[in-house]
Symmetry: C2
Subunit: 412 residues, 2 copies
């Protein structure tokens, strides 16, 4: 049995890219950028007025002029006007180009307009006041967003601004989520007294939806022949197979056996952790010998076979699949979130303990409140907690105030 | 001009429900639950075996029996077997019903099976060991999830377990996002030298997508007649109108005027904050006099008219629209996230200052690193930061280590 750290290391050294694709920029939210986004022009692209008021020439003001005849109105979105007589002014709007020959903008609040003349009530002006100079924010050609950034609303705005109507992003993996277990019935069915409803695949689908991955699902019977036939097809089609159940010592736990028979290399089975111990991880790399460049045409399928206990499946998806996916698509998978224990915890087994906690931000400190639920088998506990805190195997007494990494699944 | 606090109070006292609807449970993720979810049976629903091994009777063990003849195999998903002779055993799998007359499960690791007999190598057993008793987690009828909870992957699993194939959730509001400004061209167009591309509506659409709201968008010209005609229609159709731009003192800033002419009550205009000051907020309540119950059939439209500066629009959406939406759908809108300033900040104007910061979790502390960008007009700064920190109006020197609320827009 290996440690949680060893398991993570093996998983993180078996990541892979899913390829790249162009998508409409509005569809790129939550995806990972695979190109640099560069300023296509200066920002602002012109000397941009940032107050509504009048544009004058500093020279006139310095000569003592306070009454300015209005030559015209410069609206946003209109071609640049020219101040013909430097002693006059132009009414000018936020967002418009500064008029030619003008170099000061005085806001309406400080101006009185009567019969076509604007009188200003200020003692001094500053050259270029209320003008956002061309290129002040960014110069044409400057990098605005670097590669491998997750696209949020902020980046969407930048993409729009520079005219990237299409943008290169990492493809999402093709994922198949498979449940097994003859005791399972569909959600809409009434289980008999020895049956339960299928829930893990739906939790997994939702956990992947939080990463904006649309996964497919299937249920397979506890029968070796059917399992093998179905999984053999999935290995050809999907980048990732997620299993839930049938990975332990039971008579009908055929998954590890079937996977190995289908050429999947077992990278480990069982991790020193609770819950989630009988986790099986493997990979198959197949080469298409009919293709010219055999190595370029390899098909790599990664298999996460989680234990069937709902909490085990859940915590293992967060702990192992999430960072594997992050590293695969090129984003930082090392960044951890930490929290401070709100009370003492004792856990004697020499295994990593993933304890359910509620999370609070108490004046800038992230506090993990251990959640005394009904034991790790109880799925409903998940609905009452916000995260798992990861307590290391080497220690058995964890003091209030000590700090450990958390796996947070509730973000709001 | 009112304070940020006053603005928030006014906005939060003008929330409203959008109604409820039934959706398929797989589609309910990120929505707000509007019913209690109750255990439809005990959990576990039967005495559930939690190890693969053999089931025996404690009585036989206490009598000194260590070799048990195997009567049969109890698989998960099969009806309960009965241990016919209490001196025998049944091979039993994780997830199955405990066989009748058995009360101890011994895992395969401690058992040797040869010629139909299982020999156990243990000195003691505990009655009911490795058995998860019926109803231990939850009793039939117990509340598993309460109303007004946001549905995450955890809740999806619970809904599946109790067979809620359809679930009652709050409807999402119908939102129209309107940009104005004749200087704006489409993202795919090449702007002339006095034009810029339309970006705020796309940022707003994305910010709303993070709340799982699908908003519609429109662009209106800076022309009072067209504005009035279009907005008049939107008031009939939408729960919320979001504007960006045309709310200031400019000659073509018709929005406040048009809204008031259309019967929208202005609740405030301008807030003591930077950026985002010229924010206009109002509401129209219209009664359908043709309907029998006039008050029940009122149509309430809420209008957030944000300033056109991209950062202003962005911060105001986070600061005002987000909590308004949260309170409207029934979730806690008071919960704040705090962070500790990582360096001194000075801001002299007597206004609330929304400063862009990067966020780091340093061993359980949320740290806000002020981001020295190119000034508040620079949209590309948003791509480099993670949040705004809200620095109060009454103070002008903010010391390193002091703690303030943050508005976080980047969650990963």
């Amino acid at each position: 049995m290996i440690s949680v750290k060893e398991a993570s290391t093996i998983i993180q050294s078996n990541t892979k890219s899913f390829g790249e694709e162009l998508v409409a920029f509005q569809e790129s939210q939550f995806r990972v950028l695979k190109e640099e986004i560069v300023a296509d022009r200066d920002f602002p692209p012109f000397n941009r007025v940032c107050m509504d008021g009048i544009a004058i020439s500093e020279k006139a003001f310095l000569e003592g002029i306070r009454d300015f005849k209005i030559e015209g109105i410069q609206a946003a979105g209109s071609p640049q006007l020219e101040l013909k007589d430097y002693k006059n002014c132009i009414e000018i709007m936020t967002g418009s180009v500064l008029s030619k020959n003008a170099d000061v903008v005085i806001p309406y609040e400080l101006v009185q307009i009567e019969k076509g003349t604007a009188t200003v009530a200020v003692e001094t002006v500053k050259k270029l006041q209320n003008i956002h100079l061309q290129g002040k924010d960014r110069k044409k050609g400057e990098i605005l967003i670097s590669e491998n950034k997750i696209i949020t609303a902020a980046e969407i705005g930048v993409l729009a601004t520079v005219g990237k109507s299409e943008v290169l992003v990492e493809k999402q993996p093709k994922v198949m989520i498979v449940s097994t277990g003859d005791e399972l019935v569909e959600v809409s069915e009434s289980p008999l007294n020895y049956q339960i409803r299928r829930s893990n695949v739906y939790s997994l689908v939702s956990l992947l939806k939080e990463l904006f991955i649309s996964a497919e699902t299937a249920h397979l019977p506890d029968d070796k022949v059917s399992l093998k036939a179905a999984i053999s097809k999935y290995l050809e089609t999907y980048d990732v197979l997620l299993f839930s159940g049938a990975v332990s010592k039971g008579k009908f736990d055929f998954i590890p056996e079937v996977l190995e028979e289908l050429g999947v290399e077992k990278l480990f089975h069982k991790v020193k952790q609770r819950p989630g111990k009988p986790f099986w991880f493997g990979q198959r790399v197949a080469f298409d010998m009919s293709k010219q460049d055999v190595f370029k045409n390899k098909k790599q399928t990664t298999i996460f076979a989680f234990p069937g206990n709902p909490i085990s499946t859940y915590v293992n998806c967060l702990k192992y699949f999430y960072p594997w996916y992050s590293k695969s698509i090129g984003i930082d998978s090392e960044k951890k979130e930490y929290a401070k224990l709100d009370s003492d915890v004792v856990f004697n087994p020499k295994m990593t303990y993933f304890l359910q906690v509620k999370i609070e931000n108490r004046l800038g400190e992230v506090i993990a409140i251990p959640f005394s639920g009904n034991g790790s088998g109880d799925l409903a506990n998940l609905a009452d907690a916000d995260a798992f805190i990861e307590l290391p195997a080497e220690v058995s007494e964890f003091k209030k105030g000590s700090i450990f990494p958390i796996l947070r699944y509730r973000k709001f």
